[in-house]
Symmetry: D3
Subunit: 287 residues, 6 copies
């Protein structure tokens, strides 16, 4: 009579290394309580994990293989208190900090974009010279949204309060209030409207600096990524985004990163989740 049996638990595609052996630690931050338009990003990380089994571990783009060329641990999803953004950010900062303190790279799957603030807090504490690379359709530079300061619509503004002027590079932005664009243009952030022009220069300017890389998937055109809370027509294509993200992961000194704002229920075809899985695979291979 045996005392055990083959078990088969879900992790992101081939990310089944032990924590001790891993260089990168994936985790999910399933929170979306400050979402102002359509909620549901809380389901992003679990859908990415479940659907990744349909993806090959090998990338014909980078000619690398997640199963043989990487050591990654997926620690699953955090349990976060819906409706309490302050507690949520503290829990994320704590988990991120533990990973950083073990000398590993934290790779967070959102959740809404507010979760980035928790991870940036933990990272900036450990890397005082931290810079932020931000791909998004939205500025996320509001002072507050309907009186709420811990809002997905204000998350980059909150990061700026930690990092200060000139340390934030934004790409792909095509939506925001007039005052946000003016505030950015006043020297607070480097903001590139609509596309990734200038990314190379940004990477050059940050050379040698620690980078937090945050990727809001709604930077993509909703034609290929409809599964998000606030779809913004007119976005970048999948290949454009994949190439830009790989470039960042290869050339910049990324010390922590996240991919967020997949709200899978709004895309019943599953394509948005497939897109997110592939972006995550390519980033993991490039890091």
């Amino acid at each position: 009579m045996s005392n055990n049996i083959q078990k088969n638990y879900q992790t992101f595609l081939a990310c089944d290394a032990d924590f001790a052996d891993a260089n990168i630690v994936l985790f999910g931050a399933p929170y979306d309580s400050s979402t102002s338009n359509r909620p549901g990003a809380r389901f992003g990380s679990s859908f990415i994990r479940a659907d990744s089994y349909g993806l090959e571990t090998y990338s014909p783009y980078q000619e690398r293989d997640l199963a043989t060329d990487c050591q990654i641990c997926d620690s699953g999803d955090l349990e976060l208190p819906f409706g309490d953004s302050a507690q949520t950010l503290a829990a994320i900062a704590d988990h991120t900090g533990q990973i950083l303190d073990s000398g590993k790279l934290p790779f967070m799957l959102g959740g809404e974009h507010l979760v980035t603030l928790g991870a940036v807090r933990a990272t900036a504490e450990r890397y005082p010279n931290l810079h932020l690379l931000h791909f998004d359709a939205h500025t996320d530079l509001r002072e507050e949204y309907l009186g709420v300061t811990l809002s997905h619509a204000a998350v980059i503004r909150r990061c700026w309060e930690i990092l200060g002027d000139g340390r934030i590079w934004q790409f792909g932005i095509r939506s925001g209030e007039r005052y946000e664009f003016e505030w950015a243009a006043a020297g607070h952030t480097h903001l590139q409207k609509f596309d990734f022009n200038g990314l190379e220069q940004a990477l050059a300017a940050c050379q040698g600096q620690p980078i937090y890389f945050t990727l809001d998937l709604d930077v993509l055109d909703p034609g290929v990524f409809p599964g998000t809370g606030t779809p913004e027509p007119g976005g970048v294509g999948f290949l454009q985004l994949m190439q830009a993200a790989v470039q960042v992961c290869q050339k910049a000194q990324v010390v922590a990163c996240d991919v967020n704002e997949l709200a899978p229920h709004y895309d019943q075809s599953g394509v948005s989740t497939a897109v997110a899985c592939k972006i995550v695979r390519e980033m993991l291979l490039a890091l």
Copy 2:
């Protein structure tokens, strides 16, 4: 050249009286940030309003007509700050209070169930002897949920802190933690599992007392009402609920009420919204 034109704005079915003339004032409370399972109840009130045009104003059940027999004002949806439950409840309490102070009956359309707390606060301030009638699949009696006290899963517990022992009647309950059932049974609330047995006695016991009536639509079986955050198989039927709700509105001294937890995106057939519309119509006719 005329200076005006026929306009056609959306209200709930025939609820287009002026505020001054109305006996009942409808309003929406589109909030769902504390939802712990599937969010989306924020869209409940606007879907109810939009779909009500497909409903007749006449009820063959009560043989009354909303267009000719009632004077109701629909004041539209509140603008609520997602992610900040305290501010949200204050805004709801304020709006509810204004309606009560004008001698009218507030009829709130949620939103998640937490919104009830705002309206109960305003009502209990004006009716110190307030009793609460609660139809729901869930106990909603938790101390807190993952550390959050302003949670939909704790809303009736929060109401109890205002109203005290023996003033809350719960019907249809079929889900909760063991300790919640035990706490209720210890004399804090009157809790009827699964159905409406004992409703008549409850109404008799409350005779002459002011009633706040809160109806969580997930008390219904998800076969007929799938569009909700946490569907609980084994619920009551549509006709059972309609009769019970009409009975309450006719026999009890209802001073304020709400209908909540329609999350329309989870039911693309639109049936859940049709169910909500009809329940609201019948309650309005009965009040």
Copy 3:
């Protein structure tokens, strides 16, 4: 080198008899231009035909088999001019008349309920003493709807103009304007609210008279039949409807009939189409 090959065209389940051999002739009337709420009933007949292959030909209810016990021809869908109700009704009347003139029973699959008027015209011409049996959630007795007299909401009123007082029996009705109920009660139609009580008496009263049987599937509760333009909560169950419909087909002298108002796009689970298929199978077996 052969000159032919096995072909496999879609008919309703086993209804592949030649026209000459058939007793019953099925056809589709894919029209929904007068639908006032949610259109889409035009797809009803083709979805019923396509999905019927998943159904057994044998009924354990009646213990009869469509493949061995019946001779039915499915002539496919009519081509109807969307937006022109007068032409549409003429085309339906013409097709129905051809079938009747061949001594066969026409069985029409809607489409919206207005299509019934075309078939009733052709049938009443040939059976001057025609009576109408009507299962529906709605009265369909309006004078006109927004100025339109050829409207699904007025179809039974139009039939009454042909048939006259006392020849129409309505069952399951739970929606309509006050004046429609009053008009029916004034002796124009026999109207049974909510259920099938009195069906046996109606069948007795019509004994020996030719019957047109029209079944609007929205008489069903939307819990089991969400795929329809105007779902009305509070309807009859599937077994209730099946038994009532079988009773009519077995006991009355049905000379023509129709089943209508499946709008399959509103029910992506396919259950509504499965329900329609089974009702049609049972009616065909009972006729």
Copy 4:
């Protein structure tokens, strides 16, 4: 005790000017009874209005703001008689005429494309020299469709009967019958297949002439705009369309316009509605 309360009614994004103060008057024409493929465009205008709240009033493309730079009145949706195209067109012509007679620009939201005919009739009466700019996937030049002349598939042919040869410019066309293309090529309309090449020349040729601009959203590729009755693969991109539409609104003397053929139920991701909202915002800002 106050006599009033804050109300919050739905208009298109920030289009809440009084009729008297407005330069542009939006209205919805929710009709789709002549749709020959998949109906549902009747829901276009109300979905656009409801979803516009998720859009910023500021456009980073034009660097203008709908809230501060424009005066627009949204008069809501017309009540139109489904199944009666003649009455429907008369009601649209009447409403359009009232707006034109007040010296304001009518901006109609469809509905199916047939609604354009009502607005063109009213406009051509007041601007005898009217020209028509038409963006579409389809020629819409049929003589009739299954015997129906008031058909969405024939709407531009009907407009031509009013405007005559050489006054109609069509762009993006990729679907139609052979005889329609031949008829256009015989000098009746200027028809540009597949794209917007030649738009600049068309605008130059119309310089100084009053323009009716009709935009059938199915000119877009269904990859980014699936929510329409007859999706036609191979269409233009969102940015292409936005730029072309803005160019028309800025350079031509547009006296009336419409945007039509959003059928939102076919795109449950909501992206098609978001696309329509953004096109409407950009057109309003450019007019």
Copy 5:
């Protein structure tokens, strides 16, 4: 620097005991290659696991708690070779056998119904006197289906080849070919049409015999369980099924069991998955 971190892997609700400590071992058999109507049951087990987190561990029906009153191990999903039914059944038999040999009860989550055959093979080998209790809408007694003998439509016939006459009890059956009903009636199985009448007697008759209990969820009415390959209108209600299943688990000597035929993609409301989760919870509590 720590060497580990809190991990959070998905199991069915609170079923996180070690294999050695468990009395019951859950596992998924994600296979559906022989499905003849709509495939997708392969996703049943993973959806049940993922959605179970929204369920309470406490049952107010049985007044027992999965977290405190049971010791259950969830070993995850098997990896099965799509398109090869023979290999699949061997893998299932092997896994089931291991669990039985450890003295534990195997609880399999399908997958289509064919998977039952693998588990029955392993169980019958170890319990020569095995009886089978079968809840289903379908007879599943075909000799073969389109030439395929390892078919979900023939699975109970295959089990009969192992178990022999009189050892199989079927309940809720409402669909099949005429010859299947006749074959059962010839003494091969005990077949109860439509409902659970006679269940008590069946349990009495099997007293003391080892039971394999197989529950095809399509025995439920599709009004409450649309998410299945072949929805059959006219089924039993949720409470009826729950009570019957609990009765079996409490009174019979169940040595192995399964719950199958959830195809979650056909029910985007998630209700079918919620139904399956609750049935599984109640069965686990009753075993």
Copy 6:
């Protein structure tokens, strides 16, 4: 009394020639039992046929018309035994062989990609020098998939076993295991990653040779074709594919072909089916 009536059966758009008169014979192969990710391609052919009525017979791209310029017979769908790939391939080979033996071109609509193997077997028997042109996102070159050799993921490898080295040209490939790419590069197939570069040279190299052309629609970007089992972001556009496919059909000596892997349930907008219909129309016009 007439002995017949107008019938109207569903074929693909205007493909209603008699078998004897036709040059091309369409048929459906509704099989998907070896699908390893999301099943549902079995519904591809019937959805294509049903939705084709919404398409014009005239192509403005090729300026040809299916109704007047071609003679095509649609023989409907084969009845295939789900779960038995060997029998299925035999049935397909048989039907394909009959068509070839009549001197006609077989045009198969899948189904999953495995069905190609049946048609290639029949064609290679009759054309010993057969070459294969393959458009796909996936290599499909596995030895086996989870122990299954008759798998959609191995179908081109199986074809290679028949055709041998150097006779297979693959385009658009962007997914596979590392060893598959290496195996192709070792001279077994001509494999073009990501796009159609080199197609012209391939056509030149095959000049005069008989070609089997297999088109897996998932070569398209899922932005425009989400309705498939395994969507792979980063694919070719609709116009690119249409042009490449037309080029093949015009310039190569295509003796048989297929279009496969539409799984329509995953795209409820219907756009994927519309894409498939248009590709099929353009190929038929070009052949």
